[in-house]
């Protein structure tokens, strides 16, 4: 299948169809744990949404439902107007190719190098070898892993594994990008780099959902925030105070300033150290 037709698959939809729509979605796991309870929400094309909430509130459940990894017990989930519960098994791979996911537990293929893990995402959509050879090193350079191309996942640090997972989700430019705790194992400087990358991707028109605990990042990014608590939707607020036209460089600079982190590693080291040296 040629690379172009994928994007069209969703783009063909009417402009005003939300990319993601939950209608009274309920998911109760075997054993009675509540994953989600009557959650309704809509995410429009090109939006940047944070999904927050305490641990165990149902963020990853949302992600798994969107991937059709699990099915909802009640309610409807629509992706670009397609009902997931009635979607035939055969169409699921196509859905998943259109949704890039950074998994909370990375889900890397243990028998493949960093390079091959990322390349796999392109191979499943039938990308040509040349295009893979061009794109993969690019994205790995972006997440700062160009020196670890030929390492296997068990030869990487936690943060490096997380960045491989991020690269894999980004590499085929899916129209919907979901990141489950994408910076949980990253230091602040790298986190900002990753958020900058996600922001840039969002600015190219990709819809982005980020589930996170990084309260500070959420506050500073000033984007729409959806808060869950014990499976229920508690809050759905649009920050509204950011200029839509902020460039990625401006964005990163503002974040760095607001989080008090220097723009290069060395400065950051000193800045980071300071609060402990002088009270």
């Amino acid at each position: 299948m040629p690379g172009g037709s994928r994007e069209q698959g969703l783009a063909r939809q009417r402009r005003d169809v939300p990319v993601v729509a939950f209608r009274d979605v309920t998911k109760v796991y075997d054993g009675g744990s509540v994953g989600l309870e009557k959650v309704s929400l809509e995410i429009g094309r090109g939006e940047f949404v944070f999904l927050v909430g305490p641990t165990g509130c149902g963020k990853s459940t949302c992600v798994r439902l969107l991937m059709k990894e699990i099915d909802a017990d009640a309610g409807e989930i629509l992706i670009s107007g397609h009902e997931l519960s009635t979607m035939p098994r055969k169409k699921v791979p196509k859905l998943r190719r259109n949704v890039g996911v950074v998994f909370q537990d990375f889900k890397l293929l243990p028998n493949r190098t960093v390079y091959d893990n990322v390349a796999y995402s392109l191979q499943v959509i039938g990308e040509s070898r040349e295009s893979i050879r061009r794109k993969v090193p690019d994205i790995l350079r972006l997440v700062g892993l160009s020196t670890k191309l030929h390492n296997y996942p068990d030869q990487l640090s936690g943060g490096e594994q997380q960045r491989v997972s991020i690269a894999r989700a980004f590499v085929n430019h899916p129209p919907l990008l979901i990141a489950d705790e994408p910076t949980g194992n990253l230091d602040p400087e790298t986190s900002i780099g990753i958020m900058q990358l996600i922001y840039r991707i969002n600015r190219t028109g990709t819809t982005v959902v980020v589930a996170t605990h990084d309260r500070e990042m959420v506050d500073k990014m000033r984007r729409r925030v959806i808060e869950l608590r014990e499976g229920r939707l508690m809050r759905d607020q649009t920050g509204g105070m950011y200029s839509e036209e902020e460039s990625t460089v401006e964005f990163a600079a503002r974040l760095r300033k607001e989080l008090g982190i220097g723009s290069d590693a060395h400065r950051e080291h000193r800045d980071h150290a300071s609060p402990l040296i002088t009270p």
């Binding site: 791979p93 243990p110 028998n111 499943v124």
Partner: protein, 289 residues
Amino acid sequence: MRIGFFLREAFRALSRSAAPSLAAMLTILITALVLGVFIPVVQATTGTANEVRSRVVVDVYVKDGASDADKAALRARIEQLPNVGSLQYISKDQALAQMKKKNAQAFALLGSNPLPDSFRITPRDPGGVNAIADSLRTNPPAALDDVRNRRRDTDRILSATGLVKLVTAGLAALFLIASIALVANTIRLSIFARRREVEVMRLVGATNWFIRWPFVIEGMLVGLMGGTLAVLLLLIGKETFVDPLAHRFALLAAPSTISFTLLAVLLLVACVAVSAIGSGVTLRRFLRV
């Protein structure tokens, strides 16, 4: 391009997750080796049993001094019978010559020839030998003096060879089924060890066949390697043990067995097929994510 990709994937799996593939290969190697030894043995045994069965005969003694017309009638009657394979006329002189050869001493001093002329019937199906004798005994032709089918000996031969054939056929069936089950079982386990990988592939958007092909190709490679090794070992065994022994046991009529080439090809095809199909089928269970 796709096939190249699948092949590369299969080789990657072979070299990276070596332990499960190796285990599958070992199982294929062992079962192919056992089958490769067992198949010729079964054939030789069955062949020998059949050869022994073909020695079962019915002797029809002709009345002393029967007319040529009566003899011809007897012959015609015998030839009419169903299940008559071959018919041989043994004159009393021939019979005596045979006897003398078998037991010179006993017949050395004999003045006259006490033996009658006879017909020797070799039945087409040895199992029906008693029926031939019985049918001649009821309403006997004029020239017929006696029918001898050595019922006790015949029954024992038929019984023994029948048992041998039954047991070898049973063993062969059991081994074949057991081999397939063992190989399938090991392949199942070797894919089970990599089920997480398959689940992740599904989550990244791979279609079932995109995941399956490399596994099937890997299965074929594993089957091919296991089978080839087995054939090589069989060849070595044949050259070092069987061929010298065959010389030693040259006195025996060697029943014809499958040619080594055919056996090798059969084993290889079976190994590759079972391993590939096993891989493809087993995966189904882990592709339901």
